[in-house]
Symmetry: C2
Subunit: 334 residues, 2 copies
Amino acid sequence: MSSANAAIGLAEIEEAARRLANHAVRTPLIENAELNARLGLRLLVKAECLQVSGSFKFRGAYNRLSQLTQDERRRGVVAWSSGNHAQGVAYAAKLLGVPALIVMPEDAPKTKVAKTRAYGAEVIFYDRYTDDREAIGHRLVAERGATLVPSYDDPEIIAGQGTVGLEIVAQAREMGALPDAALICCGGGGLLAGTGTALRAAFPGIALHAVEPEGYDDTGLSLERGEMVVVDKTRRTICDALMTPYPGRLTLTINRALGVSGLTVSDDEVRRAMRVIFETFKLVAEPGGAAAVAAVLADSGRLRGQTVVVTLSGGNVDAALFCRIVHDQEAGQE
Amino acid sequence: MSSANAAIGLAEIEEAARRLANHAVRTPLIENAELNARLGLRLLVKAECLQVSGSFKFRGAYNRLSQLTQDERRRGVVAWSSGNHAQGVAYAAKLLGVPALIVMPEDAPKTKVAKTRAYGAEVIFYDRYTDDREAIGHRLVAERGATLVPSYDDPEIIAGQGTVGLEIVAQAREMGALPDAALICCGGGGLLAGTGTALRAAFPGIALHAVEPEGYDDTGLSLERGEMVVVDKTRRTICDALMTPYPGRLTLTINRALGVSGLTVSDDEVRRAMRVIFETFKLVAEPGGAAAVAAVLADSGRLRGQTVVVTLSGGNVDAALFCRIVHDQEAGQE
């Protein structure tokens, strides 16, 4: 594949938007004047925690599943996921009447497992640190004649996630904002590839950044070194949604063509961002969903005076963890 | 005053909307397909926790303060408030360069006091159960030659809060929804009077309900008995924002003319609603802000098949309390 544009462009994203029109939420692009004043920049937060299934993942999943043939729908779908893609696929499958089997890590947040099952999907567990989820998934696909729904490395998935970017473009224009930079939470890079494509088409000069947790900066490193880098998948991070050890081939190709560069955030920076999001925006962010806000808070000096778009990509977090983070930090401040 | 229409009508609310256009957030009207299916009704949630200052109160405050003369602005404003009106006035005053003095109960949530001060307002405390906050406020007004900004019983405050209703009308139409009923969180009745006026103008058949905490159902009782009822202000409720012992004269007149009837919710119903809002909508509701959702959850059978609009009127809650509610309930379910 020589060009990103050959694989996925604005036309594919606009098609996805038409498929999603009556199913996905047009999530708000939110700003807070006080926080803007404090940071010395204009921060626009795309609140995908308010999306159906609690994260942006529904967009790509529905775009993909809605194009299955009747025969494929009958035979069902298989996906592996730490939880957000699981819920997105399970909910899209439910809407379309497709059986869904999801391979999830044993230590996935309880709320993600419970919701995936509540949408009617069958769940099979694996060990995140020792098992090969892809091998398990491919075996199940073969056994059942089902269709595999990749979580990011697929043109229709990327086009679906790109509708986040289409909406940001329209909303930024409605707000009279011209973004200088976009910071996108990055696991496998599907949200970044899709959203980046839409943003770059509208704002040619925009700087695009992948935000990854420390230790899982496979996309940032791969872009920097010009080759696919695989990171140590036994590292721990609070951002369960962003623990991908290597980028997708397609997403990496697109993100390289878009001129993306990487940023990393620490667990402490993510916790602080979750607290600020709670206090300022009255929104519930999961750790991985708060990564881009965390990057802005950690480096607001460098972004001073700019208009910065970030994704708040999901809100699927267990109350116990959320409260440990939000309340402990408050206690620590007193 | 013989007619509510004489005091405040659609024209005044539309004027307020023009004043607020570049200052207030057009908060989203959110629904969740899963919750709708579970409840057997269509629930549309107006997320005013996403409003500037963390609640709808900014709308009325800014509408009132922006109409002060230069001389009045110089001499400043005084308000009493349990916290949301405090923040709304303080933030509007900051935007307009007006000194603000706020009389707040000693037991107001810490976040409300801290934010009010952070907006530059001076704060004076009183005892909610023994002191007369109105007497304290009037004394300060006299001493300083300042303007009193009532928290609800004022035409410009009501018109400002009515912009919530104007937005709901437009958003419901965009969503193809025709609301059968609206449940509005009710303290002194300003949000209800303004929003009810706007909703009734657009949807003549809509049923309008005041939602109040048990023990503070002064508006509901006053409407039922046809005279102003004063409740025992020493009762406790988790809904600090809704602890008004009697309705306003103007708000009661308007709400009577609108044919409003009252509903009450218990603290446990409010806690459950905060949990559902966290889980389902990924939003942070304060107790008083969750009252209308609580009323729907507690009585969904009666509303079956209907399209129901509710206000989620504020999100200013201390992390400690929020987590005690959201996490304890989760622990209790396990």
